[in-house]
Structure formats: C-alpha cells, structure tokens
C-alpha cells in the first residue's frame, strides 16, 4: 500500500512539471499585467517599471521560470502579486469550502444517481425508465448558473427555506452551515446525479442478464436482494471509477456554483487571480488542483480494492 502511494507521488512529479510550465507560459502570454490592477488606471510608466523590479517581472523569462520552480521545490508558493499575502494561506483559507462543496456534491450525485439508475434499469423501457431519462437529460442540459438562480428564487426567495447568501457560517453552527451548503451541493450534484444514473442504468442492464443472476433467481433469492446486493455490487466498480474521475471535474466546475451562491472557494479564487493577472496566486492554484486530482485518483484506486476484492493494489 505504502509503495503504491509512493509510486503515485513519483508519477506526480512529471505531471506537475508539465502543468506548471504550461501555466507559467500561458499566464505570461496573455496580455495585461498585475501592475495596472495594483497601481490603478492612472499609473505612470515609472511606477509600473518599479513594480516590475520589485516583483522580479523585469528578469529574463528563463530566470523567472527557474526561480519559480526552485520556490515550488522548496514548498513555497510565494506571495500574491496583488495583495502580498502568502499564496498558501489564501488557498488554505478557501480550500475547506471547495472540498466540502465538492464532497457534498458527490454525495448528492451518488445517493440520488445510483437508486435512479437501478430503478430505471429495472423498468427498462417502462414509464419509470423514461421519466428517469428525462430527468437526467434535464440535469445534464441545464447550465449550472441557471439552475442555481432558479433554486435561489424558489427555495430562497419564495419559500424562504434556505438563505440566499451562503457561506459565512462557521462549523460551530452546524445547522446554519449545512443549510447554506444544501442548495449549492444539490446544484452541483444534479449534473453528477444524471451521469451516475446513466452509468448505473447501463451497468445494470449489462449485469441483469448474466448467468449468476439467473442462477440466483433459480435458487429463489428475492429479486430485491438480487438487484441491490448482487447486481449492484458488480456495477459499483464502474460507478466508483466514474465518481473518481468526475470528482476532479466537480472541483473545477464548482466555480459557477460558488459565484451564484456567493460561497468562498478555489474556483472564485482562480477567476479573481485571472482577472487581476495575479501570476503567483494562479500558479499556486494550479499546483493545488494538480495535487487534488492526484490525491482523488489515488483514493479512487484504493477504493477499488474495497468495492471489489478481486482488484489488488500493491
């Protein structure tokens, strides 16, 4: 197990290096610079030149690149070019919000998606199946910001069940925190639910005609037990794979949900950093995303062993 994780960490290095190089180049190719943001639109060329000197942006590009890599190697993500705060603390501040939202989104997606998929497969071609397919199609085709506004309108403004402004509640107030997490998590989880339902339905349809199902039925095992225990167990592997892959996507997708529900988070930080051309913060965020993706993939691999003992990690 430890060796497995160690190998994973080693493979992380080239991936990270490639991503870092790409980001380093991209943010500098895009026109615009942090100096104008910080100094305002009335800044003089002298002031801009001074800013470049202070932040090292006047150095040759390869020099900037090497010192940037050196910094990362030392585990130092640097300081924001705009407000001079350490990048690590800016990220650490909002990371829990993004993780909590993404995990809640996954939970919503899986808890709703799997049963929907199973039910649909059982009524294959029936009206329940059609209903599920329509619902999931809706989940897939509704842009996240539209569904978010509609949810706020209905559950926030009209019914008054949930607050419009999410976030801002500490975990010492678990009720408030969960209430403010509910709508964003459902919004984020809806798309995932649609995918999971489809993956589950497809898997079930493949599994149900199998020999071992027929054998179980012949032995008189109740259908409910066959479906939820034997068949579903075989489908879960695909669901876990998908969930692991999609979890990474979810972390990236959360930005629209974060903006509409006004939650702090990595996505909003990225948009802000791009907007202000905050090179250091942007680089730090990419490192964070890359690490998150690798961590999630590793966890997924470890989960395989739990779901299906035939898969061995070693």
């Amino acid at each position: 197990m430890l060796r497995f994780i160690g190998r994973r960490l080693v493979t992380l290095v080239p991936t990270l290096l490639a991503v870092l190089t790409l980001v380093f180049v991209l943010v500098r190719v895009v026109p615009g610079n942090p100096a104008l943001i910080l100094l305002g639109d009335q800044a003089t060329p002298e002031a801009i030149a001074r800013f470049y000197r202070e932040t090292g942006l006047d150095q040759p590009i390869w020099h900037q690149y090497l010192s940037f890599l050196g910094q990362i190697a030392r585990g130092d993500l640097g300081r924001s070019m705009i407000n001079d705060r350490p990048v690590t603390s800016a990220i650490a501040e909002v990371l829990p919000y993004t993780l909590e939202l993404s995990i809640a989104g996954v939970v919503v997606g899986v808890l709703l998606g799997v049963p929907l998929g199973v039910v649909a497969a059982r009524s294959n071609g029936g009206w329940v199946d059609w209903l599920v397919r329509i619902v999931t199609l809706g989940g897939l085709s509704f842009p996240a910001f539209v569904s978010a506004i509609m949810m706020l309108l209905v559950f926030g403004l009209w019914l008054g069940w949930f607050p419009i402004i999410s976030g801002g509640k500490p975990w010492s107030d678990p009720g408030g925190r969960l209430m403010s997490l509910a709508l964003p998590a459902i919004n984020l989880g809806l798309v995932m639910m649609a995918y999971v339902a489809r993956v589950t339905r497809g898997g079930m349809l493949n599994t149900l005609p199998s020999d071992f199902i027929r054998t179980a039925r012949a032995k008189g095992v109740p259908m409910r037990r066959i479906v939820w225990k034997h068949a579903l167990r075989n489908v879960l592997l695909a669901v876990v794979t998908f969930t692991g892959l999609y979890f990474s996507v979810l972390i990236g997708n959360s930005v629209l949900t974060e903006i509409v529900f006004n939650r702090p988070g990595l996505g909003k930080l990225v948009v802000g950093a791009l907007d202000r051309r905050d090179y250091t913060l942007l680089q730090g965020l990419v490192v964070t995303y890359a690490v998150l993706v690798v961590v999630v993939n590793t966890l997924t691999d470890l989960l395989y062993g739990l779901v299906d003992p035939r898969v061995k990690t070693g």
Binding site: V30, P31, G32, N33, L36, I37, L38, L39, G40, D41, Q42, A43, T44, P45, E46, A47, R50, I82, N83, D84, R85, A90, E93, V94, F145, I149, L152, L153, G156, L157, G160, P163, I164, I165, G167, G168, I259, V260, F261, N262, R263, P264, G265, K268, L269, V271, G272, D275, R276, R277
Partner: protein, 517 residues
C-alpha cells in the same frame, strides 16, 4: 436530564436567541458589493469601484466633501479645524482638531500621522495617486497639532489633495508601520466605522467607532458582502438579506427595482464621461476632416436613449460635467448626421468610406455602447472593426497605442486640470515615459492646460480651461458620447442621514447619522 428539563432549556434558548437576534441585527447595515472579493482598504491603493466606498467610512481627510455632495468649492473642515495659505498660495498651514482618536486604541491623531499619510500618498512606491502630489515640495509637522505643506508651484486645488478622497485620507502612522502590507485588510483610521474582521471572498465586518469625533454613530456596524452575481445580489436584497446593494447599471433593472414596494433606487454622481478618443496620428484619422466625419456620424441622443434617461445624462464637453472649470460653450459634435458625415469623408478623399480598428473591452455595458456606435458609424460608411478582448487585455493594449479609437469611461478628481492633463496633455500621450491616458495623441491645448495650472486668478484660470476645451473639441481629439451615473438600491428603512446626490467614492458614504429605521 429529563425530557421536561431538556425541553425547558431548549425553549429558553430559542426564546432568548430570538429575543437577542433582532436587536443585534437591526443596527447592522448589510451592504452588497458587486465583486468576488475585497481588493484593498489601504486608501493610497484603493482604485477599484468596489473598494472605494469603504474608504469613505473608515477614514477622514483634513477637509471633507459634504456627505452626499461632490462640490469641490464647498469643502468643509474634517480633521483640520482651520487652515490658511500664504499670499503666493505655496505654503498652507492646517490646525488639527485636538483629541481625535484612531480606531482600535491606536492613540490620538497628531501632526506626525498627517505628515506620514500625505508623504505616503505622494510616494509612488506606496501610493497609486503619487502623481497628484507632484507639486508638493515638503510636508512637515510644526507642532503636535499643526501641519505645514509647501508647494513647488501653486496647484488648482490644494484642499482637494487633503480631502477625504484617495491620498488625502489620513491613517495611523503606528498601525501602518506595524502592519506593513497587512494594513490592506487591517486598516486604522479615524472615521465613524472601523474594520472588525475580513473574511476572504466573503465579507468585511465593520463596527462603529465609539470615539468618533462627530458623535457615536447610530448604526452598530456594517457588514459588507461580496456577491459578484447580479442576480444573486438582487435576490438577496429582495429576500431581506441585504439592506443596500450595488445595482445592475441599466434602465431595465432600475425600472424593475423601482416597481418593488419597500425599495428605493438611488441614482448618484460622479458621472463617468463616456468618450471616444480618436488617434490623431493614425491614418486616416490624422485628417481632421475624417475625425469630424466620425464625430458627426455618432449620435449622442441615441446613446442617452439606449442607456436610459435615469442613468445617462448628455455630455457637454470633453471633461465631465461639474468639474471645476467645466465649460459647455463650445458645441460638441455627435449630431448623428450620416449624410453630412458621408459628404465630409468624400471631400476628404474617401468616397468609399473608411475602416477603423478599435480594441474593445468585453465588459457587457461598454461593449453594447461600442456596438451602438458601430451601427451609427456604419450608416456613414465608416466600418468600425471591434477587436473584443477581456478587460485587462484592453487596458494593456490601448496603453501600447494599438487602438485607433479608444472608448474610455472615466471620472476624475473634479478639477478640470486633472482630466485635461491625463487625457489631453502631450506629456500624457501613451508610449511616452510620462504617459498617462492620452490615447488621441492630442497636443493642441498644452499651453492653456499648463497656464491654467499656474494661474493664481480664478477667473483667468477658468478662461484658460475653457479655451483648452474649445481647442480639444474643435480639433476633435475626442468625441464625448454621454455621461453615466451610478445606481444603488436600498430598503426603504435605510436612512442615509443626508441627501445622497453624489459621492466621489463611487458609492454612498455611511456616516454617524446613517440609520436603519
């Protein structure tokens, strides 16, 4: 614990919470801002629209604009009780109000703090507004409560430079030195409200300053919420989760919000002048006949109609209305006469029309204005080719002189000298080491602008400013389109405590008199 006991305590908690909560909430004003996060609360660095209003609540200047007003001729005492100037207008002495206390126990305000703040504001390393203070030779503390400012040459409005705006805001020397860059989120001033906490991407909480020298503020505090989505901000306002909210700056939003009972829309100045700057060195715009044709083809009335009469007001000159020295005696172009424009182009040797390249920001409000202009110009055979880029790219590229036509929206410190110098003085031409925002390469009014700056007689100064505007208009360096005001929405129970007509901080100032009724 028995069930009965638990129920009793539970109920008691609920009752006491529900009793305590409204009392606490009633005095806190919740203010919605259209941004994802705070930029900075350092007054010498706060240049963005969402950051500026907060500086107006936290700091004082030596003098101040009357709350709700942007009239620079009606400045009143703030931290200074009295002041005087030497005969040549180069030496100014300010007597400070005694006993003014800084926030969070940072002690009493002294002349040292004022000297520190103003020197910091004039230093390009620490301030975005250093150029405003170029004429300042020395700032010194004569005694604990007296400050003397010596100028190299007379400036049009020294009082403006020490008012509660931009670099004129006074901060605590001790706090600034202790906090360093951290001052951006832990500011210490003398104003009615002091920063209690800042949560990244979420909120700034301010509490009232119990020692405020004009009296204890009526509000307990202010909670500033960062909500970048217009729709979410609107919903939060309607659901009662916000008391004041930055509006969507269009007529449709104003009409919808006005139609809801319990809400009021405040329309305020400063008006940002929306202007097309025409690059006079780039063919075919180097010919004045061509620039005149462009200006004639643009239709100013249509822009006002397009934006809506609540938010748009007609422009009168190449500097914003209300600036000290503003003059509308020279007729500006913008009649929307396509036929006349076509004829002008033909006479100038372009019977088949012309093509113009324009780098344009993708900010929706500005893009739609550029598209209206594009349609107007097309009628006269002028093909305005928009190269739409994101806002930061736009700012970078127009400063590299890459756009023949630059659409710029701006309000500046309300003295003609500032706007004229930044946009129309030859030193300010983009690309020069002294560049500011002269995108048109206009150099026709240098004598008048510089002459007015040094002119001691206010009458003659005004005449020079008027002459500068006349030359700029006649040479068609720029075409003013319209002026855009600012819209905020508030719940009816919010009482500003003054008549809100304007605020240079681009948002309502919240004073000790502001209240929730």
């Amino acid at each position: 614990m028995t069930i009965a006991k638990a129920t009793f305590w539970g109920l008691l908690t609920c009752v006491s919470l529900s009793a305590a909560w409204p009392a606490l909430a009633a005095g806190t004003l919740r203010f919605g801002v259209a941004a994802a996060d705070l930029g900075t609360l350092d007054p010498a660095r706060a240049t963005s629209t969402p950051d500026k209003p907060l500086t107006g609540w936290i700091y004082n200047g030596l003098v101040r604009f009357k709350p709700g007003s942007d009239d620079i001729s009606a400045l009143e005492p703030d931290l200074a009780e009295s002041w005087g100037e030497s005969e040549d207008g180069k030496v100014w002495t300010f007597k400070l109000r005694p006993g003014v206390k800084f926030h969070h126990g940072y002690g009493e305000l002294t002349a040292e703090d004022v000297v520190f703040s103003l020197k910091r504001a004039s230093n390009p390393d620490t301030s975005a507004f250093a150029t405003d203070y170029k004429a300042v030779e020395n700032i010194e503390a004569v005694d604990a409560l007296t400050v003397r400012i010596t100028l190299r040459q007379r400036v049009p409005s020294l009082l403006g430079l020490v008012s509660n705006y931009h670099g004129g805001n006074i901060i605590s020397k001790k706090a600034a030195e202790e906090e360093g860059a951290g001052f951006a989120t832990k500011p210490v001033g003398t104003g009615p409200f002091m920063v209690d906490s800042y949560t990244s991407q979420e909120s700034v909480r301010l509490v009232r300053n119990p020692d405020y020298f004009r009296g204890v503020p009526k509000l307990d505090g202010i909670e500033v919420r960062y909500i970048p989505s217009d729709s979410a901000r609107d919903l939060a306002l309607r659901a009662g989760e916000l008391d004041v909210s930055y509006g969507r700056q269009d007529q449709q939003w104003i009409d919808a919000t006005k139609g809801m009972s319990g809400f009021v829309v405040d329309i305020m100045r400063p008006a940002e002048l929306q202007q097309f700057h025409l690059n006079m060195t780039s063919a075919p715009l180097d010919k004045i006949e061509v620039r005149r044709a462009v200006a004639t083809a643009l239709n100013r009335d249509e822009f006002v109609k397009f934006i809506g009469t609540n938010l748009a007001q007609p422009a009168g000159s190449v500097i914003p209305t209300g600036n000290l020295g503003w003059d509308n005696s020279t007729p500006i172009f913008g009649q929307g006469d396509a036929e006349a424009a076509k004829k002008m182009l033909a006479d100038a040797g372009f019977p088949d029309g012309i093509k113009l390249k324009m780098i344009q920001t993708s900010l929706p409000n500005m893009l739609s204005v550029a598209q209206v202009a594009q349609a107007q110009l097309a009628k006269a055979g002028i093909d305005l080719q928009l190269d739409v880029v994101d806002h930061q790219t736009f700012h970078a590229q127009i400063r590299k002189d890459l756009s023949q036509v630059v659409y710029y929206s701006a309000a500046r410190f309300p003295v003609a000298d500032v706007f004229l110098s930044q946009f129309f003085l030859s030193d300010s031409i983009v690309g020069k080491p002294t560049a500011a925002t002269n995108f048109s390469h206009c150099d026709v009014a240098d004598d008048e602008i510089l002459g007015a700056r040094a002119e001691p007689d206010p009458e003659k100064q005004r005449a020079l400013w008027a002459a500068a505007q006349k030359k700029i208009i006649e040479n068609v360096c720029a075409v003013p389109l319209y002026e855009q005001l600012i819209a905020y929405a508030r719940r009816e129970n919010v009482d500003w405590g003054y008549d809100l007509k304007a605020d240079l901080h681009l948002g309502p100032v919240i004073t000790e008199l502001t209240d929730l009724k």
